[in-house]
């Protein structure tokens, strides 16, 4: 069999070479789908200026953000936590508590340390709704995040600010974060329906930036 596997290996290797770039879900079958934008090429670039992190003790895994902590994060970035507002992030946070993994003491079920896919999806879902509220408030100049009072999320040129990104992430943002955010905005606008008002496309782009930053920064404790 050894003589047979070599050509087959080469076939697989050739195919693997064709698929080494990040893949995305197919979008061309949807009626309003635009050509898939190219992936951010610098996404994997290391920041040469960033300090090297060396683990001195046991390395901890990625424990899930506790449900209560998620509420605190939402509050800290200026999300109104009134669960009575239909379609709000706060409402989804409350109604999605089971999926988020909230402890159920009556059933002797504690909050898990590791996140489930459904829990991560629900948390991302909450962040998406939160991003709509945050961007809307920011556009009106009414965004007040208790974690970083007085910080502007976007500047006069509609560009994400370093302080704004840091506020959303809860840690210092780097130049790469801003560069990726700018490219994301450009991609969303480029993929927009030509009939859509440019301002609407920009709003949507900014919301997606906020949602992706929140989600990527708050996946683990």
């Amino acid at each position: 069999m050894d003589r047979l596997i070599i050509p087959f290996t080469l076939t697989l290797a050739a195919l693997a070479g064709c698929t080494s770039a990040p893949t995305r879900p197919p979008t061309t079958d949807a009626p309003d789908a635009a050509p898939a934008p190219s992936p951010p090429a610098f996404a994997q670039d290391a920041d040469a200026s960033a300090p090297t992190v060396t683990a001195l003790g046991p390395q901890h895994g990625c424990t899930k953000i506790r449900t209560a902590a998620l509420g605190a994060i939402l509050r800290s970035v200026g999300v109104a936590m009134d669960a009575g507002v239909p379609g709000s992030a706060a409402q989804l946070y409350v109604t999605g508590a089971d999926a988020l993994g909230l402890a159920r003491y009556g059933e002797r079920t504690r909050e898990p340390l590791t996140g489930s896919t459904a829990g991560a999806e629900k948390r991302d879902d909450v962040f998406v709704l939160a991003s709509i509220e945050i961007q809307r408030a920011s556009k009106l100049g009414a965004w007040t995040a208790p974690a970083c009072p007085g910080t502007a999320l976007f500047d006069a040129a509609h560009e994400l600010t370093l302080d704004g990104a840091s506020c959303l992430m809860g840690k210092p943002a780097r130049a790469q974060h801003l560069a990726i955010a700018h490219e994301l905005v450009a991609d969303v606008i480029a993929a927009a329906d030509p009939a859509e008002a440019p301002a609407d496309a920009r709003d949507r782009a900014e919301r997606i930036v906020v949602a992706t930053l929140l989600s990527a920064a708050h996946g683990c404790e």
Partner: protein
């Protein structure tokens, strides 16, 4: 172009080549579809078809806790008890004098002609008397679903499935029975949900608002991954699994599967829901339980068909506890018939659904289900309809398994009209006296048979979790 030398490989060489090829494909990061394309081109479609089939079946585990399990005894009764039932002797069988012996089973199996499923043929149920009842009614019983010391049958099944063919939400448990899963090495996280929230797992608010456009959902996913890669911990082995979860979630949040998973009118008809709904649900909570079970089974099959999940743990008549069922014979017969029709509909639905893990096959060929509960009630004591007594002879309990052709069928062990209880020898399948205080070995052997069915007969997979005697007498 097909290489005839590869195409004509047989026996160990063929199996080794498939294993090796899949491993190389995985190392090179090839997705499964492209690997299969390459295999098809190089070694022919037959080889690709073999490789395309997952090595484990999908499974549904019906947990009839809090007194729900006696309903299933009405579908698959102890054969001798059903045969001996009369209108006046108080035996728990709804069609006295009409018990029909199933044909073609390995051990005796009796139908209630008005209620039992699978009377039209096809694979039949296996029933194993081995476990002990729970001490009290519990919602998520485990006694009858244990494959080893501290190892749960459902957990072991989920671990085998996850190792063989990972899915997005590998195990979905509907409360209050999700805890019946137990524990086993390698079990993926169990996604729990309320019955009402089952579809919500696949229905994000994001996909209906900000990420409504597929292009935006794709950009969200791609850039979320880009931001993830900037995290200081990215790339560390310790966080790899969690980051993978994050990436899957980023994909799911932009998707809306709810429409594809929601039960359709045709599916509801297949499960007999129109008749059940016409009976009115308000008057009797058992109707709501039946409708809920049917709809959850529809979602399960639809999710299997999309390759989204591998195991569902569902409440089945959980909490019904039919002590007075034989005092309301008309209603009880109607409910038992509905339950049988739901089980028939479940398999019919699976047979109509293509198996995403085995090209050209239907899910009906690779689905296994189990039914277990807490306290199955005394098959011979309904006290004239006043009270179907809880306590079973010798405190025995049992496990039903639909092995889909991989298990010997019919009852292994059982209860006789005299009250005598027998268990079974897993190696020969023969009846042996039931040991009230030590049903461990037969309980575990029963569960191992369920693992064997899910593993499609792969004994090496079963041996990872089952350490007891041979189960040659239970399997085909």
């Amino acid at each position: 172009m097909t290489d005839d030398r590869l195409k004509n490989l047989r026996g160990h060489g063929r199996r080794d080549f498939l294993k090796w090829g899949a491993a190389v494909g995985a190392v090179l990061g090839l997705d499964r579809a492209r690997f299969l394309d390459a295999l098809n081109d190089s070694a022919g479609s037959a080889m690709a078809d073999v490789a395309a089939c997952a090595g484990t079946s999908k499974s549904v585990h019906l947990v009839a806790g809090s007194g729900g399990i006696p309903w299933f005894h009405l579908l698959w009764p102890h054969p001798e008890v059903a045969m001996a039932a009369t209108d006046s002797n108080g035996f728990a069988f709804l069609s006295p004098g009409r018990a029909a012996l199933a044909q073609g089973t390995d051990r005796p199996l009796v139908y209630d002609p008005d209620a039992s499923p699978f009377q039209g043929g096809g694979p039949q149920m296996s029933a194993f008397l081995g476990a002990a009842i729970e001490n009290v009614h519990v919602a998520a019983p485990r006694n009858a679903a244990t494959v080893g010391a501290g190892t749960g049958m459902i957990a072991a099944i989920a671990a085998m499935q996850f190792a063989d063919n990972p899915t997005l939400l590998p195990v979905i448990g509907v409360e209050p029975v999700a805890a019946a899963v137990g524990v086993a090495e390698g079990t993926p996280s169990v996604v729990t949900t309320s019955a009402d929230g089952l579809l919500g797992l696949f229905d994000s608010a994001a996909s209906r608002t900000l990420l409504k456009r597929p292009a935006d959902a794709a950009l969200y996913e791609a850039y979320q991954k880009a931001f993830l890669a900037l995290n200081a911990s990215a790339g560390r082995p310790k966080v790899a699994a969690a980051y993978q979860t994050e990436k899957v979630a980023a994909h799911l949040v932009g998707q809306n599967f709810a429409a594809k998973l929601a039960p359709t009118t045709d599916q509801e008809a297949l499960y007999g829901l129109p008749d059940l709904l016409a009976n009115g649900m308000d008057a009797d909570p058992d109707h709501a339980r039946l409708v809920g079970l049917a709809r959850q089974l529809m979602v399960a099959v639809n999710a299997f068909g999309l390759g989204l999940s591998s195991t569902f743990i569902l409440p089945a008549m959980n909490g019904s506890d039919p002590h007075g069922a034989f005092g309301r014979l008309g209603a009880t017969r109607s409910k038992a018939a509905s339950l049988g029709k739901i089980v028939d509909g479940f398999l019919a639905h699976a047979r109509k659904t293509p198996d995403p893990a085995c090209s050209g096959k239907s899910l009906g060929e690779s689905i296994v289900f189990t039914v277990h509960g807490d306290i199955p009630k005394d098959p011979m004591d309904t006290t004239g309809g006043q009270d179907w007594k809880d306590q079973t002879p010798a405190d025995s309990n049992w496990l039903y398994v639909y092995g889909n052709g991989r298990l010997k069928t019919g009852w292994f062990g059982g209860i006789r009209p005299s009250g005598e209880v027998s268990s079974f020898d897993p190696t020969s399948g023969a009846a042996v006296p039931f040991k009230k205080d030590s049903p461990k070995s037969t309980t575990e052997a029963s569960a191992a048979a369920a693992l064997y069915a899910v593993a499609k007969g792969n004994t090496a997979k079963v041996a990872q979790y089952y350490k007891g005697p041979s189960i040659a007498g239970l399997v085909k």
